[in-house]
């Protein structure tokens, strides 16, 4: 049997990082308080001081720290992204997660010893793309976009020596990662440019008797009844009128949850399983990390007898966006 994949958990703050480490994450990933990472939200993330403390905490317990520098350098400001890469190396992170090819080139030339991962924002879904990045930039791991079936993930793994990381839990979006401009269409800003999808300053939650309306830069995204679960205010999760019918035309507010597929994911040789949610609180990080740790350990102990415990599902369902979960593309019959 293949070895157990690393559990890679999100940290938007120092307490979240500690929650991940204390609850069984093998690896945490984090970012700076600026637009060099795709969770550039007000009040979130790390400055140099908290990052140093976080890295110290994780390393003292034998865990790894990855730094996400996964946005695209903006015209005239390339130096900011270079500085972020240099800073990550100085801080002694175990790997840097990069999406931009220019930045991968900079990092591999300037810091040839630094371990590099290809971000999901790099949008590499084929082994050809991944092997190209290995040949040119020496990437050691690639995070796959959440659009492949399990058979396709296996096909990639069989045709590359680059480690493969897949998403295991977290909010789903339209998943055109690194190439999505829906947020820019509504408000002129997107993860690729400013590091945030649907930035909060454009979001309005409008409470009226019996309903709540969500607007993004004035555009009505959704309207919830008092008993309906809510989701993040992104265009891809809005309800729109299409040919006379109003429904979630692009994507429903939902979360990916691969618990059921864990034995298969381990068997095909996935090297790491990632949890989404640097924007969430330390409580979420603790809840999800603890649950996935228990499930992974159970799958290691006995793959044949592995079954998903209802308590795990209940814990993950509770914290899910839209309070529902899916296996996403992994088990889709179509491609």
């Amino acid at each position: 049997m293949s070895s157990l994949p690393d559990l890679v958990c999100p940290a938007g703050s120092l307490p979240a990082l500690k929650a991940a480490v204390d609850n069984g994450a093998d690896t945490v990933y984090l970012g700076y308080k600026n637009d060099t990472n795709a969770r550039n939200f007000a009040g979130l993330n790390f400055d140099a001081k908290t990052m140093a403390e976080g890295i110290r905490y994780a390393h003292a317990k034998g865990r790894e720290v990855l730094m996400a520098i996964n946005t695209f350098p903006q015209a005239g400001r390339t130096a900011d992204w270079h500085a972020a890469v240099d800073g990550a190396v100085d801080q002694g992170v175990d790997a840097i997660i990069l999406a931009d090819i220019g930045l991968l080139d900079y990092a591999t030339r300037k810091h040839p010893q630094q371990r590099l991962h290809l971000s999901v924002q790099g949008s590499a879904t084929s082994y050809e793309a991944i092997n190209f990045c290995q040949r040119e930039f020496g990437i050691r791991r690639a995070v796959l976009p959440r659009v492949l079936t399990l058979a396709q993930v296996e096909h990639v793994i069989k045709n590359t020596t680059v480690e493969i990381e897949v998403f295991g839990f977290g909010s789903l979006c339209v998943m055109n990662e690194g190439r999505c401009w829906l947020s820019s269409y509504a408000c002129g800003e997107s993860p690729n440019t400013v590091g945030a999808c649907s930035p909060a300053k454009y979001v309005k939650w409008d409470k009226k008797p019996g309903t709540m309306e969500t607007r993004l830069n004035g555009i009505l995204i959704d309207r919830f009844g008092d008993d309906e679960p809510a989701g993040y205010p992104t265009l891809c999760k809005g309800r729109f009128e299409v040919q006379g019918e109003t429904y979630y035309a692009l994507e429903e507010p939902t979360s990916l949850n691969v618990l059921e597929l864990l034995p298969d994911i381990i068997k095909i040789g996935v090297r790491a399983i990632k949890v989404e949610g640097r924007q969430r609180s330390p409580t979420y990080v603790a809840q999800v990390t603890r649950t996935l740790r228990a499930a992974l350990d159970a799958a290691r102990d006995s793959a044949e007898r592995f079954h998903v415990k209802p308590a795990w599902q209940a814990e993950l369902a509770k914290v899910s966006e839209g309070s529902q979960a899916t296996l996403g593309a992994y088990n889709r019959p179509w491609r």
Partner: protein, 150 residues
């Protein structure tokens, strides 16, 4: 905090809120502001984010107790506002159990929001700043109370 102790989801009976509305609201505001200022004194709240709260009006409403507190942040201190003369910049509303679960870090604010147990209205970015600021606080470990041990 004792890991075995969890705050259940509950809602107080309606008559509590109808009584609560008739009671003076200033004690809630004083308690809340006192707690926030204590956190300030212990330097638990980051200064860069605090600057963004200057002169903003906040309102916390506990739906099932009928309690409500308004406060602002000015010149380095949180201050109660007993008679707010305008709509708050940011308003939170939830039942008591949800607020307690949040404070105990037992539930995540996004979870409560998705499940419609926490209402956030007003300036969404300000809400995110407050949420992330509180998430980033490393609360000192409280001594374990004999009462809570099992």
């Amino acid at each position: 905090m004792n890991g075995n102790f969890t705050i259940p989801k509950f809602k107080l009976p309606d008559f509590v809120a109808s009584l609560g509305h008739k009671l003076p609201q200033w004690p809630h505001a004083l308690v809340l502001v006192g707690a926030l200022n204590a956190a300030l004194k212990m330097k638990l709240l980051p200064e860069s984010e605090l600057a963004m709260l200057e002169d903003k009006l906040f309102r916390v409403r506990v739906l099932d107790t009928g309690g409500e507190a308004s406060y602002t942040y000015r010149s380095g201190l949180f201050r109660p506002v007993f008679r707010p003369e305008r709509e708050p910049d940011l308003a939170f509303a939830a039942n008591l159990s949800a607020f307690l679960q949040l404070l105990a870090r037992q539930e995540d604010p996004d979870t409560l929001f998705f499940n419609r147990e926490l209402e956030i209205t007003g300036d969404t970015e300000l809400g995110l700043i407050v949420k992330n600021m509180l998430d980033a606080v490393e609360w000192p470990k409280l001594p374990r109370l004999p009462l809570a041990s099992s």
